[in-house]
Symmetry: C2
Subunit: 679 residues, 2 copies
């Protein structure tokens, strides 16, 4: 607890040109009087003492001293307190809008900075924003804008704060924290004025260093995930055992050389079974382990000499409430480091390199659609949930990291960034060990990263520790940091993949959303859901509205949302209307909604193909019909790279968060803003 005193803290702040109320250390009465006169009355005086922790409570803070006599009396009173050896004299700062700036260090994320409103706003409304250090100017500006109190800061009645100088303050704090290795800082209150600001009180603690993640060798990871020779330790011939399921999964690729290991068996499904790893006639790319946890370490030590990588399915390590679980897991990492190999898991259902290898215990996923979306998940259940519910999405890799004894999120993101097939990276995060490294990798990554963090709820925070063996941590800190790194942060697994699908298929690059329908009610729901989820609803240009009014009858709703009503049944009008929308420079994407109502209100799929095929801006369709008709429509329309949803709510929410992400101008990866958005 190496706290600097207020005097020392302010001395340090001054070196970084941060405005503080001048403070002087005085060891005798006359000095105090002289300094007070120099500063001008009224002044504040505080005791300096090694033994007093809470100065106010001990009567060690005297405010509003207005004369030489009052200063003298104050000095005598303060110097008589326990352990007092000096007194500080400082100006009473002119009252401004109270804000605060804090710095703290998190086990996962390292140093972060907090900006918030002071007083009642901070305490009752928890009105603050967080970012990791170091800050860019954009980060700092956004932090201030993000608070509710921003409405006051930017000018409200007789209040107004100098936002530019507050931004500068945050940047200087960030720089200072980095250079001076500060672990904790509390500038509270800071008075913000119409012109400038003043740090009134300050408290600083100097920090220590933190541990490091292993260096990532992406070639090694690639070779492991594209293994050709694989051993399965714990292989079984019992169809209900994991050791059988893995063999069944791997067997789908006839090009793999699979070596089941089980001292008691000779053969499984026509494959020769080996007694031990040592017996295998070649070096291995991958060893999959599915034996009870107490045997894992021994197997790993044996395998480490013969393989590039290991995938441990077995559970019963850090996640379990058992003795030595965490210790065993640490030992696994030591073995990996010593042998220069990489270990995935333990407590993982496996991984799928779609189109090459299903190294998991779920053979039903042998037939997955190959594509450009990579899913890296901390939960096997969520992998299953997503794979079942998103059979229409093409994946490159599904990787369940499990307990992450060695390979962790940052390693995989670095690998996927180089991977040719992957264009979008989706992350399901519960709790992290190397959050700062993750943030760094996302920043470096040239592909869009979509992330969700479980543990929004207070209760999750409490219980997830026992599950993943890692701290869920402060949800807001996670979300702020991921956002700061440029990731699109979503709220649930469905949104995670919906968003990836929209970005992948449409290449949406920003701009407002135009809504078009032939049934107004559907348009209203889309509008509500888009706006309330922060999406950018396009303000149509006057030209566009005029154009719509020229071609459509007055019975329709000729704005955004656009309700064509029965005019939508006329192909030419439908085409012209959508064209007017896409030619509007405020429009970045069009959402079209339609609930079929045959025979009188029906638009054949061929008409849609004709209308959509030449569209230059992204189109997203919500189509509501019978299952059979929906599936037919979807396959035809998606061939045009137009995603089709059956749920207005899902499509709208996903599109909303993508448009917000693009509009924020913080998107990582290859996403660039369109000219429409730049306006």
């Amino acid at each position: 607890m190496d706290f600097l005193s207020e005097y020392e803290s302010k001395e340090l702040l001054k070196r970084y040109n941060i405005n503080c109320t001048p403070i002087f250390l005085c060891s005798n009465e006359d000095e105090a009087v002289n300094k007070a006169k120099e500063l001008g009355f009224p002044v504040v005086m505080k005791v300096v003492s090694k033994s007093i922790i809470h100065k106010s409570d001990a009567g060690g803070v005297l405010l509003n001293l207005n004369s030489e006599e009052e200063v003298r009396q104050a000095f005598r009173k303060l110097i008589a307190l326990e352990g007092a050896y000096a007194v500080t004299v400082q100006q009473m700062a002119e009252k401004g809008i109270e804000v605060m700036v804090g710095v703290s260090e998190n086990e996962q994320f390292g140093k972060f900075i907090l900006f918030g409103m002071g007083g009642i706003f901070a305490e009752v409304l928890e009105d603050y924003s967080l970012r990791l250090i170091p800050l860019t100017r954009e980060d700092a500006e956004e932090m201030i804008r993000e608070t509710k109190g921003y409405r006051i800061l930017k000018g409200y009645r007789n209040f107004k704060a100098d936002i530019e100088n507050l931004t500068e303050l945050l940047l200087r704090v960030s720089e200072m924290v980095e250079r001076e290795n500060i672990a904790e800082m509390d500038l509270n209150p800071v008075f913000a004025y119409e012109d400038g600001y003043m740090v009134v009180d300050a408290r600083i603690r100097i920090g220590r260093e933190r541990r490091e993640l292993r260096e990532t060798n992406t070639n090694l990871i690639r070779e492991i995930l594209n293994a050709k020779s694989i051993a399965v330790v714990g292989a079984s011939s019992n169809p209900l055992k994991v050791g059988y399921s893995v063999i069944k999964s791997l067997s789908a690729n006839k090009k793999l050389r699979i070596y089941p290991i089980n001292p008691k068996l000779n053969e499984i499904d026509g494959l020769r079974v080996y007694k031990s790893i040592a017996e295998i006639p070649e070096d291995l790319d991958l060893v999959v382990i599915a034996v009870p946890s107490e045997k894992v370490l021994q197997v790993v030590e044996e395998a480490a000499e013969k393989t590039k990588g290991i995938f441990i399915i077995s559970s019963g390590f850090r996640e379990a409430e058992i003795e030595y679980g965490a210790e065993m897991q640490n030992r696994l990492k030591e073995v990996a480091e010593k042998n220069g190999i990489r270990i995935f898991g333990p407590n993982s259902f496996g991984m799928i390199n779609v189109g090459w290898m299903n190294a998991s215990f779920t053979p039903m996923f042998n037939e997955m659609k190959a594509g450009k979306v990579a899913l890296v998940s901390q939960s096997g259940g969520i992998c299953h949930y997503i794979m079942h519910n998103f059979r229409d999405v093409g994946f490159s890799y599904i990787i369940h990291l499990g307990n992450r004894c060695d390979v962790d999120f940052p390693d995989i993101i670095r690998f996927l960034n180089e991977d040719e097939r992957t264009e979008i990276i989706t992350l399901y995060i519960e709790g992290l060990d190397y959050s700062r490294e993750l943030v760094t990798e996302i920043k470096r990554c040239s592909k869009p990263v979509i992330a969700m963090k479980a543990g929004k709820s207070k209760k999750a925070d409490k219980v997830s520790k026992s599950h993943t063996g890692s701290l869920a941590g402060d949800y807001r800190l996670y979300v702020s940091s991921l956002h700061q790194a440029g990731a699109l942060v979503v709220e649930n697994p469905t949104q995670l993949i919906d968003v990836a699908r929209i970005i992948e298929m449409t290449g949406f690059r920003g701009g407002g959303i135009a809504i078009a329908t032939i049934q107004a009610g559907l348009g209203f729901i889309a509008l509500d859901e888009i706006e309330t989820n922060g999406g950018i609803v396009a303000e149509l240009e006057e030209n566009t509205v005029r154009g719509l009014k020229e071609i459509l009858p007055p019975i329709t709703m000729r704005e955004n949302p656009l309700d064509l009503s029965f005019s939508g049944l006329n192909t030419d009008l439908l085409k012209e209307s959508l064209n007017l929308l896409q030619n509007d420079s405020n429009v970045g994407a069009i959402m079209f909604l339609y609930a079929v109502s045959p025979p009188s209100w029906i638009i054949p799929v061929e008409v849609f193909i004709d209308v959509f095929k030449d569209m230059k801006k992204p189109v997203i369709v919500v189509y509501s019909s019978t299952d059979e008709d929906y599936n037919h429509f979807k396959s035809r329309i998606e061939a045009l790279n137009i995603p089709v949803f059956s749920s207005i709510e899902r499509a709208s929410k996903a599109l909303a968060v993508v448009s917000r992400w693009l509009a924020d101008g913080r998107a990582n990866g290859s996403i660039e803003k369109s000219s429409a958005e730049k306006k």
Copy 2:
């Protein structure tokens, strides 16, 4: 604009025992001095003038007058102002926490009351709550609790407000508004103290009366919706015309006597076509009209003499940007009233009495599942969306009200409340004409009412006027009033029906939600979504946790969420665990989540049936699998009245809002709280 003066307003308030700063009207200097002395210094003095509107701006308010001399000077200054004929003298109230109470009148809802924090909280954070007048004590308590500032009011640092007396204030205002026919009131500021409160300034306006809805004759509505003899005006033999679709829809019931009307045709699909309504040989229950809007009025006048009810499909009335649209619609209502019949629509796709009659232009909905959920919607598109996406739900009626020239929400709710088949009423609302009557009907209704209001977004507010021809109005006022009436207010159409399905199938009566799974990740998502949507997550009793720890190995998560992990593959453990959960008196419902992972992690549907069939508390299941397996599982499990969802997010959100609604203790209808919740 009949505003009472501050003096008159406070005199009125005093008659209702509402505490105001004493105020005296003084017409001469000596009187002012005497009153000031009587009140005690300091005092406030204000001008009384017919011509000054903004007293402060005109220098007509003088604060903090501390002596006789200051009072005399003030009097002279004030009485010299324009139009001044008197001066008020009142106490400077001791400063308390600033709150405000407002009353206003809305075209739709009539009188409502606002409670909010004063000062910056109100203006920057829009921190207020709304309820319709009259208030119950419960309403008043909830209004105060609902504000963010409640954290300050209930006691924060050196602030604390007398909540009981503030509640009393709201109740007295409500009573006073009703008795005195007050249209507008502004008590602002009100100072709340630790003991009592003081109304410092007051402004009241007396109001006028509002228009009335027709009396509902539910028998007549029943006969119309269960019509046996029906004419279709505008019948067509062209399959792409609405006038053909309606015939096709109706023809599904061979018991109906259908009379197509078209002067140019003799026969449609084997039905004899009549030249005019007059030609039909019997009296009619229903006439469906599908002719261009300009011909509708004439047809209605003709039909009115021969039928009990009319359904107008034609559009081009109040919703359209055309001349006389609204006027034509008003004429329809006049005809209905004059003839004692009821008219539905115009601008409606029709209605479906499931199992009897599809009187709509969408024959594809002839084969709907009959059940207990009624849907009353202001949008035909949303009806189609819901019918397509919820084929698994049994409906009693689907009624598209369209423009509501005559029959409106309150009529239908009153009818459905008496309807034997309907057990749950769902409403999709865009904008209303008789909001107060709707609220009254929901309060009276003995069946659960689930409602969604479109127009959350600011933009919707603007554009919906042109669509439904009615004001979308203040979204918050709608939501507050529907909540106050006891309806469960949901956010989108999917939630509307998900919630109805859960209530209908499970009979959930309140209590906390326990989450059980064999894949922890799924449980976390459910927990997050339930908690962040306001759901009640059960705190397990110590006994339950102890029981779980006795039967389950330490590798699992033995709390809420409960992650059985592979122990869930053991039927006895699964059964015992769920039993422990349902025997916990804090648990009102159990959500079970499972993403299948064959062959090693599979629980056959027969096991689930065995486990679930004797459960006494409601169970909701999320099941993730292939489409085929999912459909099979769903049909088997739903036979036990256990709803099955494929989406964790949807199931969790719906269950969350139901549990919140039950916990709030405001649920209308036959829902009662369980003993678990009463704790």
